[in-house]
Amino acid sequence: MKSNKGESRRSQSVRNIARGGALFGGALLSILLLVAWLDWNWGREIFSHICHQKGDRCLILGGAALPVCARCFGIYLGIVLGCVGQLFLDLRSRLTSTALWAVAVGATFANGLDVLLELMHVYTNLLSLRFVLGLCLGAAVALFVLCRAITPSLPNQNGCSNRLPSEVS
């Protein structure tokens, strides 16, 4: 009974984190889309400190470029999709730790390789590839964080004590 209660509280805690991530991420995406749609220079200037904003590397919305590049936008969208995926599909109980590591490392490596190949002029400015790789990285990071999240413990749970460090020593 206690175990079920603990499990339920843990899963509720992860759901809350995923909900928060989806909400904040969604708000950020909305702001980015609004800044592009209204062609708001002030907003563009704020986001210039977290992205290079090279025009040819940004997705275009209604004739105006987004204030962050395709990879950054993909990462933010990926984080939101990862959080939504956890909310509705409960991926925490389905994905193993090995799978999470493999996906996270794979997505990071793929993005690094893309940057390297561009620097070596193997290909130039593949906007859709950059967006998709960013999307994969964002989703992978969100799932990695949510599925490995440390959740609060129930007081006096089996095997736990509420002793403080001073009492322990």
């Binding site: 704020i46 950054c72 990071v141 990695f144 440390i150 609060p152 095997g159 004590s161 002793r163 403080l164």
Partner: protein, 171 residues
């Protein structure tokens, strides 16, 4: 999966050392306009360092919200301090850190950019050159520090808190 049986009181783990280390990294990495080349990575690294310092110093594991809080606060401190120093040098000596390098970078971008975005880039170079510090600029910088620290710190702190899972649970 077994859990460490002890629970540590979070109030007994001051975040000052973590703020100092994460803030120092954020300060150094945001002082120069690196973000134009590596996006929010400097602040993600700063936040990651802060939360890692926090969990390793007290040998604890923390919930995501705690890791994110420590990381965001350290990023705010670090990038806030670098912005303040930038403004002080701007006001006192009319010198802007990294501006020359940034203008060169933008000019290079403009040369290789398609015609549609070239004009906008050239326009932004002119705006940057003629920009004067004032209330509007300071408000914009404050918003920038909050937004960038929020994004970078949240990502760095969340990753660090889910990566290090050894030690007593602090709550």
């Amino acid at each position: 999966m077994t859990e460490d049986p002890e629970i540590v009181n979070l109030d007994e783990c001051p975040i000052k050392p973590a703020l100092l280390s994460g803030g120092a990294v954020s300060f150094v990495l945001t002082l120069f306009p690196l973000s134009y080349a590596v996006c929010c990575l400097p602040l993600v690294i700063g936040g990651f360092v802060a939360t890692t310092t926090f969990v390793s110093k007290y040998r604890i594991r923390v919930e995501i919200k705690v890791g994110m809080k420590v990381a965001i606060l350290s990023c705010l401190a670090g990038s806030g301090a670098s912005t303040t120093l930038y403004d002080l040098l701007w006001v006192a000596f009319d010198y802007r850190i990294g501006l020359k390098w940034y203008l060169e970078l933008l000019s290079n971008f403009a040369q290789s950019a398609p015609e549609s975005s070239r004009d906008k880039l050239l326009e932004s170079i002119d705006v940057l050159k003629s920009q004067k510090i004032g209330f509007g600029v300071v408000v914009q910088q404050a918003l920038t520090v909050i937004v960038t620290s929020g994004i970078g710190g949240a990502i760095g702190g969340a990753v660090a808190s889910s990566l290090f899972k050894k030690g007593s649970l602090a709550q």
